[in-house]
Amino acid sequence: SMRQQIALANAQQMLGKITVNCFRKCIDRPGTSLARAEERCLVQCMDRFMDSLKVVSITYSRRLMRETK
């Protein structure tokens, strides 16, 4: 359905942003495979990115409500 297509596009956009931002933060000199420490960093980075999106969304909607009151 159209709704699903939109949700999928949103998820892909978010995953793309996570990939770019976390690759930049976690991979200093790219080696012949992902090191353990790099994988751990990527997983943490992904979790923090999604936490951050949540905080940002909540703050923004709170503000939108205050401004339109």
């Binding site: 956009q13 990115f49 905080v55």
Partner: protein, 88 residues
């Protein structure tokens, strides 16, 4: 005739659906823009938990960014006004 009304009804529904989706997409793009900027300001090396200081920084960052946007828009409006009244 009733078919035509039906079509018009569906068109309205579709238009409404598209308008709401467009608004949602704008809010979504906005959230991603805020997150890009505030992630850069507030997050160093990612850690095992989002600590309280970072959460406060993110939340303040969004609010101050909106304040900044309002400040700049207001000042621009004032500049336009001064220009147009000065031109009289």
């Amino acid at each position: 005739m009733s078919d035509f009304e039906n079509l018009t009804g569906n068109d309205k529904e579709l238009q409404e659906f598209l308008m709401i989706e467009k608004q949602k997409a704008q809010v979504n793009a906005q959230i991603h823009e805020f997150n890009e900027i505030c992630w850069e300001k507030c997050i160093g090396k990612p850690s095992t938990k989002l600590d309280h200081a970072t959460e406060t920084c993110l939340s303040n960052c969004v609010d101050r960014f909106i304040d900044t946007s309002l400040l700049i828009t207001q000042r621009f409006a004032q500049m336009l006004q001064k220009q147009s009244s000065g031109g009289m």
